[in-house]
Amino acid sequence: MLPSGRRVDRVTALFVSLLAVSFIIATFDVRADGQGAGAALRDGAQVLFTPVQKGIDYVTRPIVGFVDGIADVAGLRDENERLQQRVQELQAQLNESEAMERRVQELEAINGLEPPQEIPTVTAQIYAAGASAFDQIRYVNKGSADGVIEGQAVIDEDGLVGRVDLVTEHNARVRLITDPLVSVGVRVQDTNETGIVSGQGSGPLRLSMFRASETVPAGALVMTDGSRFPPGIVVGAVTESADIEVNFALRTSVDPAVRISQLDFVKVVVGWSPLDADVEAPDGPLEPPPIIDQGFIP
């Protein structure tokens, strides 16, 4: 049955009005840069949805895990080979790290330096993700009541996961390092040179260096440089070696250390924040802890 002309007009008018309202809301939200009424609405929605999301996550987690396990059977062989290769790489890194640690301890003793303190973390569990396939966010069950504030780093046993970008009393939203709007200041372990890693939505991260003087080899570990996140957190490994381009620029890709699709428990680094850094060191960015700052790593 075809609608009447008058009916079509009303429907079209409503459609155009709703599109205009959406456009205006989006424009205001972009201009507010995640603050203002949009942020308040997001907080409210999160508070309302969290109990339901947690309930459904709790009930369905075992079933979903079973189904997901069956779906993953085909990829287990590749996964096994990848893990064996990873174990070998980690063993080599461990040997190297132990030698380096001994050397650092000797140098600390010689220079009378205190070793860096363990940075406090809060363990949190992911209970939900973004509502769209293009979202690179996760929701965790720890919030301001646990000491979580915006900007803090989120890590797991493999390395940097992302940063906290929205906090309610008992929950927080984490923006992953794969988000195109997240950039991380990094240091390449092999060359000790700094650069910026940014996400691309999925897949490998993009490493950009602007004052490179050495070739970056494939497999080189990339770690946070302490400018925004605590220094020394593994971000990933360079996937292909890259030579310096004109103007000492260098671009390559980095395989994230964390397995984004399999995140479950994470740690929020509550004892270190760029906001704290601003309070304690108003004249400049926070100095990294002594191990990195003193340049003892050869």
Partner: protein, 169 residues
């Protein structure tokens, strides 16, 4: 405008949003790295069984809910789901032609919604088009939505028009 079907439709959209962010979240059920776009499917289903104006309002509200629980600016998904609802309203009379046409329609509308989001997301600085797996994220949800279409549309019809047969207009 009868209020009861609209309230039920909004409830279905809320349920879809919750399931999308939990069961179909990364690390849960995501075959080949993608999940169905359940909210889009429910909005398409509501557009099939509700009157035009309530359908548009349900699409818009569902989009706003998705926006509130995602990292994109508020209004982007509202814009996309409103547009998809409008197109669904224009073609819904063809659904009486049978299940194959419905499957094609669900695929095309889901793909349209995803492509629109990539387009407006890029316009609003979200860099969605730079995603190396953008094609996969566009196509797989459309395929999954076709697979889920029969049970989801059946459930929507049962909730909104309990006295009608499933393929009836």
């Amino acid at each position: 405008m009868r209020a009861r079907p609209v309230v039920i439709a909004l409830g279905l959209v809320i349920l879809a949003v919750v399931l999308q962010t939990t069961i179909f979240a990364p690390g849960r059920i995501q075959p080949f790295g993608a999940a169905p776009n359940l909210v889009l499917l429910v909005v398409i289903g509501c557009a099939r069984y509700l009157d035009p104006e309530p359908s548009l309002l349900v699409g818009f509200t569902g989009g706003l809910l998705v926006d509130l629980l995602s990292s994109s600016p508020l209004g982007l998904w509202a814009m996309v789901l409103t547009a998809v609802t409008f197109v669904a309203l224009k073609v819904r009379s063809r659904a009486a032609d049978g299940p194959f046409i419905i499957a094609v329609g669900v695929f095309a509308l889901t793909l349209l919604g995803q492509v629109l989001f990539v387009f407006v997301g890029t316009l609003f600085g979200q860099k969605t088009i730079e995603d190396p797996q953008v094609v996969r994220k566009l196509v797989l949800p459309a395929i999954y939505n076709v697979i889920l279409a029969a049970p989801v549309l059946w459930a929507i019809r049962a909730a909104l028009r309990p006295s009608q047969r499933i393929w009836a207009q």
